[in-house]
Amino acid sequence: MSSPEIELRKLARNLLERKVVDLVIGYEDSEAGVRPCFIKEPGEVEKLVWNPDCRLSLVRYLRGFKEKKVGIVAKGCDGRAIVELIKENQLDRKNIFIIAVECNGVYKPVKYGSSKTRRQMAEYCEKCEVRVSPIKDYLIKSDEKALEEKIPKGDVEDLDWLSLFRKCLRCMACVRSCPFCYCTECSIEGFKPALVHRLVDPVELFTFHLIRAIHMAGRCVECGACESSCPVEIPLTRLYHELNEWFRENYGYVPGLNLEQAPPPLVFKEGEKP
């Protein structure tokens, strides 16, 4: 057991015993792999784990506990998501106890039917510059063991996006795992057949992905939850990264870095060159 894990369990027990939080959302291990767990009793804290397989962002679960005080295990990107969500009036800082864990990157999942079995660091983690949540109530430092395997940075231009889109099942796993997809009626789920039909028409996968990209632009914190949930491994974060770049170039805005900077509306002011 790694030292951050011991510290995490100790902290969780403490928080629950002192009733600082009503529950702690963290990761547990299971036969099906590392998965989210919801710890309500101090006695359960031994379930908690922290390792590079803890990839699904837990932030999306926060909206299910709006009235409760919740402790959450947050990587750097997860913390940024919380920041951005507070700005979007979706979360109340008061109700969240952020257990920031210093993150060295997570493994890309090896899924059913995969012909590769080598464990690699996820690509979005390569790009990541914020390894610790910008806001936190407690910081758990990483231990010395760094990730050994790294893969070279991929180039966005190399991808044939249309053929990647073609593979999409429109299963909505990307949308459902994203901390930011909290809309009550998702535009691309088929509620608006004029845009995307309820039943999946392969032609509309283009529209599906572009609309999602537009909706994520300037908000995506590149946590990779979408990408790692995707059964056909579409590198969605690369696409959203490109749009984040557009936001950075035009408005100097990088999502989730601090609570003060308001997200810019999609507007050019006078004098700003498109």
């Binding site: 889109f165 004029a194 050019f268």
Partner: protein, 141 residues
């Protein structure tokens, strides 16, 4: 065989659609493959609809708006401008020519400008060739 002609959707705001009508009044000619959709303001056009238009078979999408005048806090056409810019970046990323989405400033009396600009855009789009997203998305690997 009929030569391929691009299909272009032009969202024209209230004012610039007057300009489009003006082109007719003043006897300007422009290619018939520009299809106009009249909207109250260019800012009403959701970027998703532009994407949808490309998917549905448009080879290019044009948004015409009044020149942004900073009379108020925000000129709505600046919203459109920003959206178009974002969309172009997105299209470029996924490998679609960004020239397929544009914004044009057309006032209600600028029929001639509209006719000229649109003819130019049709030519340029012809040079780009068909977008054919439908075909490309259905293609078997």
């Amino acid at each position: 065989m009929v030569a391929w002609k691009p299909k272009i959707i032009a969202f024209t705001c209230w004012c610039s659609s007057s300009g489009v009508d003006q082109a007719g009044f003043e006897g300007f000619k422009y290619p018939a493959n520009v299809l106009t959709v009249r909207v109250p303001c260019s800012a009403i056009v959701n970027p998703s609809i532009v994407v949808k238009a490309l998917e549905e078979g448009a080879d290019a999408v044009l948004l015409t708006a009044c020149k942004p005048v900073e009379l108020r806090k925000i000129a709505p056409s600046r919203i459109t401008e920003a959206r178009v810019s974002l969309l172009r970046r997105l299209l470029k990323t996924v490998g679609v020519e960004e020239e397929r989405v544009r914004i044009l400033w057309i006032s209600s009396n600028e029929g001639g400008v509209f006719a000229n600009e649109v003819s130019r855009i049709v030519e340029e789009t012809e040079r780009l060739g068909p977008l054919n997203l439908r075909g490309r998305m259905l293609e078997q690997p």
